[in-house]
């Protein structure tokens, strides 16, 4: 019933193609050093971008890739995205066996069409055409040649010489051409030398190229690829985008255009809405308190729903529309909040940012449109500056969390764009402090109370829990703490959102049957119950810089009341490790049948040379082993 129909019949039989092996497709021609760690090798890739006019950019790509093993399969296929302003003009290709003999020709009809909408969006107009060849033996080689046309030049795709892991590049080049005299800004990152310039009458071209890039392996705790990959950004001063035109040469100009052409017209509110806002803040003098009230109003009224169509990818839906619908995406909700604040006489700044737990800055030296993926609102007050995340219904006023902390963002204003930096969350701020009073009985059962306070980037650790009914919260907590047999009761999660420094306090009663294990006369009690370090790979060779993205500080103090007739048979030594990456302390005190275990782990931020990774792994793995430590108890009466 759901049978796929084949639109075009493959022409001819296989042997008709097997005429001559063509040079450049034979797997054996790959230089041996490029095979190291590689699952696929880009044999040759030529990327030509021709900016014919501001509303016509032609991208022509030819690439040959040899797939060495199953892990390289992702490189065999081709995925082309398109929308109203980006069309696929032509595509063809071919597949060759290990000896470079043609197995199959590929045409557009071999491609399957699909929606490219992301899971978090209600709707996006972005679509893809994709193709994956079927070859069951390795190595084999694919060749593609395709042309894309952009009806805009505001976003010219960045060129990356090799953005992939486990893929080597034999040769790759990027040529950007445009009319002579076109004002361009170009920046090559991690590229030695200057682009090759060439010109024909009326035209100028710039070419960057790389040869013999070995395959890169993804490594744990590596920094953003932008720090070490070779890539080129090009931005045109005069641009078209859907039905608008504009000019910018720097962040100031770009921010100005965004505000004046995309946002300003979207901020009108009806007189009724304005009256509602004024009524809302009536009687409040402090601007910050007014803003707090309005933010609460937005959170109660709206929710995040993403719809991306055409210019709507950059332009918010109107504030009045959000007011009516009660939903919008990040742009729409920030724009709406900004409009409401304005109605109450409070100025604020629409800021574009690259969001994600992994921090990424806008490049202060190079303005371009494709460096951000999110919008937040900055509200400058006399004494401090408050930042608002407008897509959440629960985030405290002024709290950004680890989604947009510590990074360079662009504030878009009527008079021009301005680079700002969001607040830093320090290791001390990102804390988890836990206290537990536990009683251990002779059967090894534990009962007790636990209180945990989360702050900074950990403030929202329990947020998912709070979206669930109480019974599900208890089950989910079992998953989070992941302790065999544990049961939680009297769980309370209190969030202190009002203060300058929001905290989440989790309190609960716990029981853990059979936690302390008996074997003969001995009882084994593992001391660290709730917050254990995971081990990390101990790499043979580390190639990339070690990068620690965000600091943290964890403190656990567990008090065990032990049965009176047990004495300690074996006790692990106290541990104190202090390193440039962080500190670890595990201290045991035992007095009057009460054992206190205190464990402190702090992690620092920073960049370190590749060889530092071994020391870092040693630190973390020592902490991992120390977290498994147990004391061994024996009956006080038993004689040895």
């Amino acid at each position: 019933m759901f049978k796929k129909t084949l639109f075009l019949l493959f022409v001819g039989l296989l042997h008709q193609y097997n005429v001559h092996a063509q040079p450049g497709y034979k797997a054996s021609e790959i230089p041996t050093p490029l095979l190291v760690r590689a699952s696929a090798v880009i044999r040759n890739m030529e990327t030509n971008v021709d900016m014919v006019a501001t509303d016509q950019v032609i991208i022509r790509i030819r690439k040959t890739v040899t797939i060495l093993n199953k892990n390289g399969e992702d490189m065999a296929g081709l995925v082309l995205s398109y929308n109203k302003s980006r069309t696929i003009k032509a595509v063809k290709g071919s597949v060759y066996d290990a000896d470079g003999l043609l197995i199959k020709k590929i045409t557009l009809s071999d491609f399957e069409d699909a929606s490219a909408a992301s899971d978090f969006s209600l709707y996006e107009d972005e679509r893809i055409k994709h193709f994956t060849p079927s070859v069951n033996s390795y190595p084999y080689t694919v060749f593609y040649e395709y042309e894309l046309r952009l009806k805009q030049n505001l976003v010219i795709p960045d060129w990356y010489a090799n953005p992939y892991t486990d893929v080597a590049v034999q040769k790759s080049s990027y040529t950007f051409s445009c009319k002579t005299g076109e004002k361009l800004r170009m920046k090559a990152y991690n590229y030695a030398g200057k682009p090759l310039e060439s010109s024909t009458p009326g035209m100028i071209s710039y070419t960057w190229d790389v040869v013999n890039l070995p395959a890169l392996k993804a490594e744990p705790y590596m920094s953003s690829g932008d720090n070490f990959l070779t890539y080129v950004k090009v931005a045109a001063e005069n641009f078209s985008y859907y039905n608008t035109k504009g000019t910018y040469a720097d962040w100031e100009g770009l921010g100005k255009w965004i505000y004046n052409d995309l946002i300003k017209s979207r901020q009108q509110l009806s007189p009724a809405t304005i009256a509602e806002v004024r009524e809302l803040v009536n009687g409040i003098d402090d601007p910050k308190e007014k803003a707090r009230k309005i933010y609460q109003y937005v959170q109660d009224k709206t929710r995040y729903v993403s719809v991306q169509i055409g210019i709507g990818g950059y332009q918010p839906i109107s504030a009045e529309n959000v007011h009516y619908l009660g939903y919008g995406d990040c742009k729409g909700l920030v724009n709406y909040t900004q409009a409401l604040l304005k109605a109450a006489g409070i100025p604020s700044l629409y800021c574009i940012v690259y969001a994600g737990s992994f921090k990424q800055n806008l490049d202060p030296e190079f303005a371009s449109m494709n460096q951000a993926n999110h919008i937040i609102l900055c509200v400058p007050f006399e004494k401090d500056t408050t930042w608002l995340e407008c897509t959440s219904q629960v985030t405290p006023f002024g709290y950004l969390g680890d989604f947009t902390d510590d990074r360079t963002v662009l504030a878009c204003t009527e008079s021009g764009g301005k680079l700002l930096h969001t607040p830093v969350l320090t290791a001390e701020m990102n804390s988890i402090k836990r206290r537990a009073q536990l009683t251990v009985d002779m059967q090894g059962n534990i009962t007790g109370q636990m209180k945990t306070i989360f702050a900074g980037s950990n403030y929202d650790n329990d947020e998912e829990l709070l979206t669930k009914p109480y019974a599900d919260q208890l089950n989910l907590l079992k998953d989070i703490y992941d302790i065999d047999n544990i049961n939680f009761e009297q769980l309370k999660i209190a969030q202190n959102k009002g203060s300058a420094w929001p905290l989440t306090t989790e309190t609960c009663n716990i029981t853990i049957p059979n936690y302390m294990v008996q074997s003969g006369n001995l009882s084994y009690l593992q001391l660290n119950i709730f917050n254990k370090t995971r081990s990390i790979p101990d790499l043979k060779e580390r190639k990339l810089e070690l990068y620690l993205n965000r600091g943290y500080s964890y403190e656990d103090e567990l008090t065990f009341a032990l049965p009176e007739n047990l004495k300690i048979e074996y006790q692990p030594q106290n541990i104190n490790m202090e390193t440039v990456f962080g500190d670890y302390h595990a201290l045991i005190t035992f007095k009057d049948h009460t054992l206190i275990y205190k464990r402190i782990l702090t992690g620092k931020t920073g960049k370190f040379p590749p060889k530092a990774y071994a020391e870092f792994a040693d630190f973390i793995n020592k902490a991992y082993i120390a977290d498994q430590n147990k004391i061994v108890l024996t009956l006080a009466s038993s004689k040895k």
């Binding site: 019933m1 759901f2 760690r37 669930k468 089950n475 101990d538």
Partner: protein
Amino acid sequence: MKTTFTLLFLFFFCSGSIYAQNFEYGKFTKEELDMKIYANDSTADAVVLREFGSANIDLDNYTNESYVNFVYHTRIKILTKNGFNAANFVIERYIYDKKQDEISEIVATTYNYTDGYPKPTILPITQVFTEQKTRYLNLTKFTLPNLRPGSIIEISYRLRVNNIFNFKSWQFQDNIPKITSTYISSLPAIYNYNISLRGAQKLTSQKTELVRDCISIAGNKCDCSRSIYTMDNIPAFKEEDYMTAASNFKSAISFELQDVRHFSGGTTNYTKNWRDVDNELTSSREFGSQMKRTDLFTAQLPVILQNATDPLSKAKAVYAYIKKQIKWNHYLGKYSEFQIKKALETHSGNVGDINLALIAALSAAGIETEAVILSTRANGLVNSLYPVITDFDYVIAKVNIGDKSYLLDATEPLLPFGLLPLRCINGKGRVVNLKKPSYWFDLLASEKELTRSNLVASLSPDGKITGTLTTYSKGYAALERRQKIAAAGSADNYVQSLAERLTNIKVGNYKIDNIDSLDEYLIETYEVTMNSFDKPGLDKFFYNPYFLDRTTKNPFNLNERNYPVDLGAGVDRRVSITLTLPADYVFAEVPKNSAVGLPGNGGRYQTSATIDKNELTFSSLFTLNKPVYQPDEYLFLKALYSQVIQQQKTDLVLQKVK
């Protein structure tokens, strides 16, 4: 548990029409407006107050084609912010023969009870989106405006379903509870449908009446049977880990067209009994005809079979050949998508292409082979009372050699002969034979997830353990490891990343045997060095032998279970350690040898340790013997895992013989 039964068509001749009709849009009761919490489920974030659907067969005036005219209407109370998800609607519109299901009359309104009356916010039609999901499916998507806790949302639309084969199924149970849900199906007497109800919930009422002259087909008036199904107080469906498709458990009613009687006198059978299905399948161009294409292999057979003499080795050779010839395009299907001839040429095909080609090739080699159609785990269980052909989404081969039979699937290159991928281990499959009537066959995993790890090592006075670790794996364990090796690109890469993940164990030389001999044990041999303990001095020391596959997480950590735990295959893991000590030792404490079992020989965990002069031997065994455990066995499973975790915390305490 699944309860499938056929609803009998009983025609009640009523004096008047049964009272059941759509409820009035936007007209609320005081209880609905005032509701703050749903009394039957205080944890509900949203609750369906009323839901109504009706479907009838209608005729297109222009094309004269029949279609299903479906009307849907629901009213939902949003109780908390977490309930906002209940306001996201995705309506599936299928495309058959280039014609798509059409949606119309969409009305969506949010009512907020403020200032003493329910104030409506109407969803503008510009906020209704259509996404072309695949060639066969469009999605109409929207979400409700102006939501807040306490909102009532109301949605209605009409859908024209062009394919009448499955009429229009109705899902009573969903992820949020429902107070009442009513469905009316109106089927012209000439259309005969199989109707099945699935799930644990019972209908509150079910009535059927005859409606005279309800439809006019080609000038002939026809009566309809109008059935009204109502279910009240439907609890929310909660998914659990280790369960098969949720659709097996959610209460729903579904239809499949059996036959259509024509006014001219004839009858067109769509599905009647297995004999009809057998005929249909064996004569189908996409099924039976493909099974018969033995001619495609005659030329190649001498080469494929050159080293094979007996039937089993022939079957293995053909199986290996097909796996290499056609790469799976990741589409399921019991039918051939491209015809196997084309699939062999392009080296690409769906499940149907690959396994029908396998059947044809095996038959060509003179091996008795049948087709087995089945439903994958994600697709749910099949109806075993009568054929519901659309339930089946997969086909495999069944090879009969002597009195043994083997189930084969050639879509996964790394599967050994006779082992099915887990997705196929789902109840029963129907064996389709070109000459004989079809029959049911249990889809069982032929092998367990099996590993044997042996460490032979010696402990040096400075506390280092040096030795050789050999791991034998078979069944799903071997499949998983072979898939990892393939994904790593090479055995070197696989071992390197394995070594990097083993904290405290250093891996030296290694050897992996039988990577490509899929029917044999995968044998991994590693030279290893590890630290044994942290306390220097060897008069007395603690040794923890659980260095491999340490279990820290209990996968069955909850206190109750509603649905069976379906693992698909059993588990068998054994570890043995032979450790040579630097001197003669005895146990300072007699170790607790663990031995616990599940009831009915369902599984076992056992350890034992002995010491003889300077040689320590330790062994452990963990087995799960059943592929499926019932909900009342859940707590035993939990206890078994708990025992493993507890045991692994204990050490062996050794004392030097003075």
